[in-house]
Symmetry: C2
Subunit: 521 residues, 2 copies
């Protein structure tokens, strides 16, 4: 990996980005796009105002004010971030970037920022797609991006209890590398895995790519250590407790507004030794949904249970019709019987098995498209396409109505906004006994220079449909700043009052990630 | 069940209480106890001060001030409650008992209490063993026990998503009776099941008697409706969400200090159709612990996985040596192969299988003793015995040291306090991949009139050992008032500040269950 460079404007590695020719090729199927990709500006040419604040000399060793560092910490990786970066809009750049080398530096940054009235935006891998790492406004003396990726070590492994004490700034691959010698794994693989951190997963209640059982990072936490402006909160490391409301559950999902997570004891698992996967095809999407519900309620706990609707299936090249990708794994015993049971259950609902054993081709095709998708998204964005996703969760009884309404109403919004029809596809990323987590992909031709505004209007329509159908504003993308209106509608008012009070108690100066979850004080 | 009467001073039904002869018989094995049981006072003879407050006429229909109702709501069902009731100590009796017939009554009671400065103690089945339902002190104009058991209906069943909207005051058996016609079950069976309510389980983060996977009520919640003094908090009913810190997790474990839970959408399961159980005997307790750890980490999810140490095993009549009771069940597929796998895993660690199939005698003996135990406890209490339990959870690496220390130090405390050796036994009630939930039973001869003080001293020693060994002050008995010192030590200070702030926001007059979790304002 040495020498590989992260993209400052788009997803992942620069050497994985689409070439101009590839951009044009992926856009060829979408009418209304210009023939040439928007150029990627040179970092050195980008206009950037000077920093409005300076760090005290005690922090000089861990603070940078170089334009490159500031630009790299301006945005997350949402579609609207990519477009704004490509257009050279860097008004939201932080004044400084702090990279703590130890927890003590985090304490010092919060002390300084609290006393100087400077906004602090915690920054892990920077993969937010909801405006979670971008301070908006000018109510503070300045803004500091607090990059935690130097806190990247597994500090302690307990092989008896299968747990590890891990620094929050570690990226997914480095985390797994450090656990591998012990034969253990956190087994949490969100799509952003390569470019997101443990602390980011915890702060946003991340969902891994496993479809059932241990999907949310929430359930993998034994204890957390959080630096707040009023002191360090460290919960007791126990397998279970009924001692009052869970301290960890207050910080899980707090998105940097209540404190900065610096360490956590995480529950680990034995590395899987047995794996099997299969795909099942359905002529009817309704039948496929019924099959997935039966599977989710049968207690078989497949590792993967991803349903692609006909549009998503065609887009990923996996197949025509609806495709269900099933995967089973275990660190202890062969899983073939369980896979057969799952395929049989799907068969009861009209599913026709694909190739059951080993490397299933539809599953492999889909997985490769899955990992490639963010790079393709960037290529399409350069071509002027509107290409973004949103996700939710709802109970099974509400899904059919929600699916129809999203396709109809978001489709209508696309046509109203862009003047032409677009695509709205759906897959299930996670399934629960009581309902699925549908993930929608939107693809349409934008008008260059107006893409962000156009997307914002489409997204508002999408959020409105979700709210009206009793679906959550976000299953695993977090709230950030972009989901605030929908979140504010979803959140019970007394809980909002309690959260505001907790925030005031922990962050009296109101400097932590202002605008996320709550209005700035 | 018609005509059965609940005991006002002890556990459960009056017709299940031990006779005087049975009391003497169970105490026979314990030297130092008097030959005759303490008499049960007559309700009519008990001295009780008059109510200090009167309800407004608008609440007259749901408020009682009869001595019997007030006495029945004075205590929970801890050992120290039983002894105090038997001795006629009713100083803590509430002034009034309110029994809301609808949520509106709950709102009205909180409005009135907030404006009049009256403490409100939410009361479900009254099975608290930690002083959770007993207001202590005189800083309020009066105290009202808010009995929610008239809110006892399943309001709605969603068979598609397998969930139900349930009123919080329903007792366990009535809840299951209402779900049975739909073929569904909440499958949450704490030892107090017959005499505790859904709302109590939620407010205290109850653990059911299933040993693995879905043990805590927390994980069965889809959404909750909570009446707070500043409004009703109702969370969105979805299978999963990443939208900020979970509102439900703030109220779970809040023990009536932040609001009164009136309804919840609960996740249900198909009723089990296949069951199998077995017992396994071990010559060495350490081997048995190793076997249980291997089982907990193998992903086999037994419904029961109860390990009894030699003392507990002898006491329950199950066997000599250490006994592991294993149970497996499913609503979908036969479970015999899984049971065989579990027994084999135990065998790898030196376990000798008992009778594997069907009604295993050790398991049956133990289960019957389990359900009978609270009545026996009451009988022993009438004989002057000190008989109580405490429970915790810790990581696997800490368990051996904790077990030794608890037996040694609590044993020493018993000898110091009572002047004679007592018994300290242990079983595992729940096991997790990262550690067990050990449950300790203490039995010793007390001195009549001093039992509560003696127990308090023994309990303080126990709590001190738990804290020193990094074990939680409570796994499923909650905090209440009795666990406050240990809880205050366990709880991170910044979280305590956040909780106090949340409490002040939701309960500005500070009337909700004062003294539980937090000091009264």
């Amino acid at each position: 990996m040495t020498g590989r460079q992260r993209s400052w404007w788009g997803w992942g590695w620069t050497d994985q980005a689409l070439s101009d020719e590839e951009c044009a090729a992926v856009a060829a199927g979408l009418p209304g796009l210009s023939g040439t990709p928007r150029p990627v500006p040179s970092l050195a040419d980008l206009p950037l105002r000077g920093p409005r604040v300076a760090a005290p000399s005690s922090l000089a060793g861990c603070v940078s004010e170089t334009p490159e560092e500031r630009i790299r910490h301006t945005y997350g990786k949402a579609y609207r971030d990519v477009v704004r970066a490509l257009s050279g809009d860097l008004a939201a750049a932080p004044d400084l970037v702090a990279c703590p080398r130890a927890e003590r530096d985090v304490v010092d940054v919060l002390d300084w920022a609290s006393s100087a009235g400077i906004a602090v935006v915690p920054f892990g891998g920077g993969s937010s797609v909801v405006g979670g790492v971008e301070y908006r406004g000018d109510a503070y003396a300045g803004a500091v991006s607090l990059d935690l990726t130097m806190l990247d070590r597994v500090l302690e492994v307990d092989p008896v209890g299968r747990a590890a004490r891990i620094q929050a700034g570690v990226l997914g691959p480095a985390l797994e590398d450090q656990l591998r010698p012990a034969g253990l794994t956190l087994r949490h693989f969100p799509q952003s895995f390569e470019f997101s951190t443990l602390g980011g997963w915890l702060a946003t209640r991340s969902g891994g790519h496993y479809a059932t059982l241990l999907t949310h990072i929430d359930d993998l936490v034994e204890s957390m250590r959080v630096v707040t402006p009023v002191g360090i909160s460290e919960s007791l490391r126990v397998p279970g407790s009924g001692a009052g409301p869970s301290p960890d559950r207050l910080f899980l999902g707090s998105e940097g507004t209540l404190g900065v997570i610096t360490e956590a004891w995480m529950r680990l698992q034995d590395r899987p030794r047995f794996k099997a996967s299969a795909s099942v095809r359905f002529g009817s999407f309704d039948d496929a949904v019924a099959a997935v519900r039966a599977i989710a309620q049968a207690g078989l706990h497949p590792a993967n249970c991803r349903l692609l609707d006909p549009g998503e299936s065609a887009l990923s090249g996996a197949s025509s019709g609806s495709v269900l990708v099933l995967g089973v794994e275990s660190g202890h015993a062969p899983v073939d019987a369980r896979l057969a049971e799952l395929v049989a259950l799907a068969g009861d609902h009209g599913g026709r098995p694909g190739d059951v054993a080993g490397a299933d081709s539809a599953a492999a095709t889909w997985r490769s498209a899955f990992l490639r998708m963010p790079y393709v998204r960037d290529g399409l964005a350069r071509m002027g396409a509107i290409v973004e996703t949103f996700e939710t969760a709802c109970t099974w009884d509400r899904f059919p109505g929600l699916y129809r309404a999203v396709r109809a109403e978001v489709g209508a919004a696309i046509e109203r906004v862009t003047g032409a029809p677009g695509t709205v596809n759906c897959r299930f990323t996670h399934v629960y006994p009581d309902g699925p987590a549908p993930y929608f992909t939107v693809l349409a031709a934008g008008r260059r220079g107006a893409e962000v505004a156009m997307w914002d209007e489409i997204k508002a329509a999408a959020s409105e449909v979700l709210g009206r159908h009793g679906a959550t504003i976000t299953h695993h993308h977090a709230v950030g700043r972009d989901h605030r209106p929908g979140y504010d509608r979803q959140r019970p008012a007394p809980f909002a009052a309690a959260l505001r009070a907790a925030k005031a108690a922990l962050d009296p100066a109101g400097v932590l990630n202002p605008g996320v979850l709550l209005d700035p004080v």
